[in-house]
Amino acid sequence: MRRLGLAVGITLLAALMVFSYMARASDFPAPMDDVILTVSGDIKANSGKDIDFDRAMLAALPQSEINTGTPWTEGVHNYKGVLLKDLLKAVDSQGKEIIARALNDYQTTLTIQHVDEDGALVAMEEDGQALTVRNKGPLWVIFPLTDHPELNVPSIHSAMIWQLRAIVVNP
C-alpha cells in the first residue's frame, strides 16, 4: 500500500515536470532529420513562426492508435501516430479550421469537429511499420471508420489526406 502511494506520487511528479517543461518550451528546436511536416498559421508556440517537424519530434508527442479499415486498403490495420488534437495542443493553437496539403499538392480542409470529436489521427505507422511515400506516408490522416460507421462517408474519406506534408491552422 505504501509502495503504491509512492509510485503514484513519483508518476504525478514526473507528469508535472513534463507539463512544466512543455509549458516553458515555447520554442521548438530545429529538426535534426528530414522535415516531414510543417505547421503554420494560428499557432502560439515557437513565437508564432512556422514549425518544422522531423520524425523524431513527432514521435516525442503523445502517441495514439486506431484500428480500422479504409476504402484504399484491404482488411483492418493498426495505425499509430499523433492525434491531431494533441498536435494542435503541442503547438498551442486555438484554431478552428485546418488546411492540410499533401506532397502532390492535394489539399483538403479539416474542421474542429474532425479534430475534437471524430478523432483524426496523424498516422506515422501502419501495423508497426513506418509509413513510406510508397504507402501513403510518411504521414496519413486516419479516422476510426470501422468503430464509427457513421464516419464512413465521402466527406470524411476526402479528409483522409495521405502523404500529408503541411498544415495551416486558421483561426
Binding site: P71, W72, T73, L103, N104, V133, R134, N135, W162
Partner: protein
Amino acid sequence: MMKKWLNSLVLYGVALVFLGLSAISLNEYFRNSQLISSHIQLSAWSLAQLELEQQKFFNNLRLFQAGAISHKELMLSYDMLWNRLTIFLEGDENRDIRSRFHADKTVGEFFDLLRKLEPAMLHLQQNSSPISQLVQDVAAYQSRIRELMVLNFTGPEASKQLDGIRQSQRILAFNISGLVLSGCLLVFYLLRQSRRYNQLALSDPLTGLANRSAFQQQLKLTFSRRQRGLSALCLIDLNHFREVNLTLGQAQGDDMLKRVAQRIRAHLRQQDMVARLDSDDFAIILKDLDSREEGLGLMRYLQRVLVFEYLAQDKVFQVDVGIGVAFMHDVVSDDDIMLEASLALSEAKRSKEHAVALFEPWMSEQEHRRRELLQSLRRLLEGGVVDGALRLVYQPVYRLSDQTMLGAEALIRWAHPHYGNIPPPELIEVAENNGLGRALGEWLFSRLQFDRDVNRVTWPDGMTVALNLSPSLFHAGLPDWVAGQLQRTGFRAEQLVLEITENITMVDFQRSKQILEDLRQMGIKVALDDFGTGYSSLSYLRELKVDKLKIDRSFIHNLHEDQNQRMFVMSIVQLAHHLQVQVVAEGIECRPEELLATELGCDEGQGYLYARPLEASHLPGMWLVGNPQQALH
C-alpha cells in the same frame, strides 16, 4: 361531431403522410443519383491522378536525364507513382473501375514493371544507357493508361452505362410522378366522398330540410357566435298529425309532411334555418332579427300559412300548427333555449286562442312546479307512504227521498309542504303524464284500508265508497286489477262504486263496454261521472251499462232559477230511469236546489248542503247521526 372532426383529421393526416413520403422519395432519388455520379467522379479522379503521377514520373525521368533535377526528386516521384498504383490496385474505392476494361491487369503489369525497375532506379546515372531504356518502357504504358481513361469516360461502354442511368432515372421520375398524382386523386376523391357523406348525414331525406344533428350544430354555432342581430328559436308541431297517419297511412302522412316543409321553407327568409327534428316536429332558427316584433310577426304569418286543407283519398284534413317561440338574448345555453321553446310550444298547443306562444318566465316556473310535484308524488307513491301529505276525504252521498246516508265519495287531497294544497286535477295530470296512474290507484286502496284500520272508518253494511279512476287504469286488465286490490285490502265488491268519466270510455267504445260488463259481473257498481260536460250522446248511454249517472254540478247549480236547466235535468232523469240507471245530483248547495232535484226525480244527492268533504276521523260520526239535518245542528 367529435367523431366527424376526428375522421377528417385522420384523413388529412393520411394525405399529409402520403405527400410527405412522396416528397422524401423524390428527394432520396435525387440524392441517390447524385451519389452515383459522385462515385463516378471518385473513380475518374483516381484514374486521372494515376495518369498524372505517371506523367510526372515520366517527365522527371526526362528532366533527370537532362540533369535538371536531383536523384532525390526523381525518387520522390517514383515513390508517389508507386503509392498511386497500390491505391488503384487495392481497396473498395477503386474496385469498380479496376474491374472494367481489364484495368487491373494493365495497371498491375505497370506496377510489376515499376517494381522491377527499383534496383536500376536506385543507382541511376545521368546519360547512362539504362535510363533511355527506362523512358521507353514507361512510355509504353502511357498510351495504355490513356486508353483506359478514354474507354471509361467517353467510350461506347461508358456511354451505354450513362444512357442506362438516364433511362432508369426517367422511369423512376415517371413512377414517382404517377405516385404523387394518384395520391392527389385519392385525397381529392376521399375529401369529396367525405363531404358528400357529411351532407347526407346532415339532411333529412324526406323533406330535404336540415335534420336534427345539423340543427343542433347550427344552434350551438348561433350560440357561440352571438351574431349581430337578435336570434330566435321556434318549434312547430302539427296538430292531429297522428290521426292523418293512422287514417291515411304513412305514405300520405309523409306527403303531408313534405307539403308542410315546402310551405315553411317558402315563406321564410333566406338566412333562417329550417329543420325537421322528429316526425311532425319542425324547428326554425331565425337570425338577424331587428326586433322581437319582427320575429313574432314572422311566426304569426307562418302559422296562418300553415293552416290549410289537406285533401287526400276524398278526405279533407284541416292542417294547423302550434308554434313556440323563444328569443336567444338572455338564456345561458342551447339546452335552455330548447326547453324554453318547447314550453312555449306546449302552451301554444294547450291554449285555444293562441297558436303562436312566446316563452314567458311563468312557463318555466310552472314547469318547475310540475317537476317538483312529480318528484314529491313519485316519492310518496313509490315509497308506499300511506299516511303522508296525501290523504282521502269523504263526501257523504244521500238518498234524496228520505235523507238516508248511502255512502261517501272518496276524494284525494294533497297538502304539499311547499306549494300548499294542490288541486286534484293537477295531481291527476302529473300522475297520468308520468306513468304513475297505476301507483296512484294502488295508493287509493291502501289509504282506504289505512283509514278503515287505523282511523276506524268502518263501513257499515249497505254503505258504499266511491273511487275516481285514473284514465290510464281503464284498460282490459282493470277488472283483474280491481279484484286484486279488493283481495289485498279486504274490501268487498259490493262496497265499491267506481266512477269513470265519459271521455275515458270514448276512446275505444267496444272495449269499454266489455270492461264495464266485467266489473258489474264482479258486483262492482259503476258510475258515470261529470255527465253532461263531455261529448256524450244519449245513444251512448244506451250502449254502456252503468249503475249510476252523476249529473255535473254545473246543471244543479241555480237549478231553481233556470228553466232550461230544469228541462235538461228532467230529460236526463227520465231517460236514465227508463234505462234503469240511477241519477245522482252533484253539488247541491242550498235547500231550493235540493227540493228541485228531488222533484225532478234525482235519486241521490251530494253537496255542501249536506256536508263538505270530511276528514276520515269525522266520518264515523256521520254513520251514527244518519240524518244530515241533525248533523248540521
